[in-house]
Amino acid sequence: MAAASKDLKIREFPVEENPTEHYLNAGKGLKSWLFTVDHKRIGLMYLASIILFFFVGGMLALALRIELWEPARTFMDADTYNRVFTLHGAIMVFLFIIPSIPAALGNFFLPMMLGAKDVAFPRLNLLSFWIYSIGALFTLYSIAYGGVDTGWTFYTPYSTSTGTAVISMTLGVFIMGFSSILTGINFIVTIHKMRAPGQTWGKLPLFLWSLYATSIIQVLATPNLAITFLLLILESTLGVGIFDPALGGDPVLYQHFFWFYSHPAVYIMIVPAFGIISEVISTFSKKTIFGYWLIALSSLAIAFIGFLVWGHHMFVSGQSELSTVIFSFLTFFVGIPTGIKILNWIATMYKGSIDLKTPMIYALMFLFLFSIGGFTGIMLGALSVNVHLHDTYYVVAHFHYVMMGGTVFAFLAGIHYWWPKMTGKMYNELWAKIASVILFIGFNVTFLPQFVMGSQGMPRRYYSYIEQFQTLHQTSTVGSWILGVGFIIVGIYLAISLFSKNNRASSNPWGARALEWMTTSPPAHHNFNHTPVVLHNPYDFHKPISEFRLGIDGSDGHHSSEDVSTPKEVGDKV
């Protein structure tokens, strides 16, 4: 139709403040949530689920720390202790941290940052949430059935002979794997096919680059976990013997299979965190991100190298010396793209107008904690050091610095950064800062002593210990209580902010430039009521904000009834 070309005028779309209609009141009742295909609601449902499981996993962690107060029994027996640490690990890894940033924040913001109305496959997105929920039910069933005592890695031959609920637990993880795969596929396709006009790959927010890299890992690694757990289940039920030496099998093969997924999975956990840090640091430094392409491509480099280093979990498992040397060597390579990122973030802050709001504080804490976690990882990758430190608390401290100090602190940065956009409400800045300091202190008091214990020879997963470690263990336990208090404060002020009346957030409280801030807070049902057009890099803070609010008219999003005959003109992707 002829009128379409006339409508193509690009103009600024001012953002309405305090909208009366948005995605939260677009539908009412439980059904409008449970069967929604709106990526924002699905993201929030994920967020609620992972917070629930973070709470469960956190309570288990507190129980573990209390048990370690005394060198021998404090309040639970050794079998219970084995089950509790297994559940803590499995819940935190599979139910909390893997879906945490991609499925909750990613789901919510990926289409918005692209100027799209939804992910490419909205029903698949809902399905992946339901699959996650079914997998979670299996996990809860395993807990009720008596738990699992193998550790979260489910190593054979113990896992096929223990008699605890390994089958239902691994089945649960197997099912959740599909959820992870479907989310990954959805994200890759959405980023490829649904970018706003003008949004080239070079104008993609770095959070999306990190989600893109993460999705590639999810798609390539997770099927391998699925087949591994399928083999494990068949081993327990039919006795197929792939991993059983008595039947001609090999338990080390299980470890290869397991870590071929689970090492890349470590990057599923941390790479999205990098993306949040890029957004937050640039926004709160009011400065163009330093080395955009290096940050973007280093995410992909990490995803690639991450597939080649799984053997560093098996230095003492009896793999050949040659492969041990190669894996150790390759492990050091992961440090390069990660180091590039850290350098770029710091260079971004250099001479920026740094605004120490809560998300930025978390981002700075992330830099500190993640660097410690990363450097100790290099130490563990060194062969001779690894033999000494293998399976000690040093390893425990290392991955908690990466996973909790890294991912969880970045997740907190992201939650605070996007809270006003997601809910339309502002949290109490003072309490948020107080809580962040408490969490930082609590975290270090908990895990710094574990480095010391580990290097002195305290093995991980042990129920009892010799008395010389008691002071360090007790310090660590006290730290876990401080952490608990910090999280309670975060929960309280965030909950209060939801119900307060006079704390409505503006559409762009931080003065950010990415597309998700160019719509109302909370966003409209279909994110934008026009088709956004992108001219600039999302970190071009020196350009006027009006140039980031451009778009093309289009009543209900991309295409209205009158431009059917030439729909391509309106929305042709660049």
């Binding site: 096919k193 390539l220 099927p223 197929v240 209900d556 295409h559």
Partner: protein
């Protein structure tokens, strides 16, 4: 989803897509990615196959002789034929030949069923002599301590493949019902296209399984 939005000119285009082309491209890319995950899913079993064959070459040779090459070869031809008929079904959809579309789909379903029937007879003849997976293996015709391993791998690989055939049949039955109702036209045949992609992969995996399991010399 599509019918929620009354203002749409083309009812099959979901509300969040710009046009039919973007929707088809997205669906195809999504399916290709899914097929990548499928390849990696089977990849684990292929790795297990490689490891155990490298360790026990003579076992694999002895065990493969128990399998019927004739039945395997017939099944290979059947599946390749079904790949042809589903490709013709896509072509029929592109040319708007609705009757031909459902006819080709039905032929594909029948060929898939033939494959499963032959597989059923193969399995039952093995079960009859005690060749069962894992610890249920009782056959004594193969003089090798690791004898159950080959057949465990055989049952897992062909079983997982068979499961994919059954899922494919389910998808194609759905397509036939929809095609009869006139859902698919030259302007919209995305589900036919992506199902065909899936079916080609199922076929392709069998083309690898057949020589690996049946034709060991």
């Amino acid at each position: 989803m599509a019918n929620q939005n009354a203002t749409h000119g083309e009812s099959h285009v979901a509300h969040h897509f710009v046009d039919s082309e973007q929707q088809l491209d997205s669906s195809k890319l999504g399916m290709w990615l899914f097929l990548v995950t499928e390849v990696l899913f089977f990849g684990g079993l292929f790795v297990a196959y490689i490891v155990y064959r490298a360790w026990n070459p003579e076992l694999f040779y002895m065990s493969a002789k128990e399998l019927s090459t004739t039945l395997g070869a017939i099944n290979t031809v059947v599946l390749i034929g079904s790949s042809l008929t589903i490709a013709l079904a896509v072509r029929a959809a592109q040319l708007n030949q609705r009757a031909l579309l459902s006819r080709y789909l039905i032929v594909t379903i029948l060929l898939a069923c033939v494959f499963l029937v032959i597989k059923y007879f193969e399995y039952t003849s093995k079960f009859a002599v005690g060749i069962l997976p894992g610890e249920f293996y009782t056959y004594e015709g193969i003089d090798h301590p690791g004898a159950p391993i080959f057949f465990s791998i055989y049952y897992m690989m062909t079983g997982l493949h068979g499961l994919h055939v059954i899922i494919g049949i389910g998808l194609m039955v759905y397509l036939v019902v929809k095609a009869r109702a006139g859902t698919y036209t030259a302007a919209y045949y995305t589900p036919v296209e992506v199902t065909a992609l899936y079916w080609h992969l199922v076929d392709l995996i069998w083309i690898f399984l057949f020589p690996l399991l049946y034709l060991i010399e």
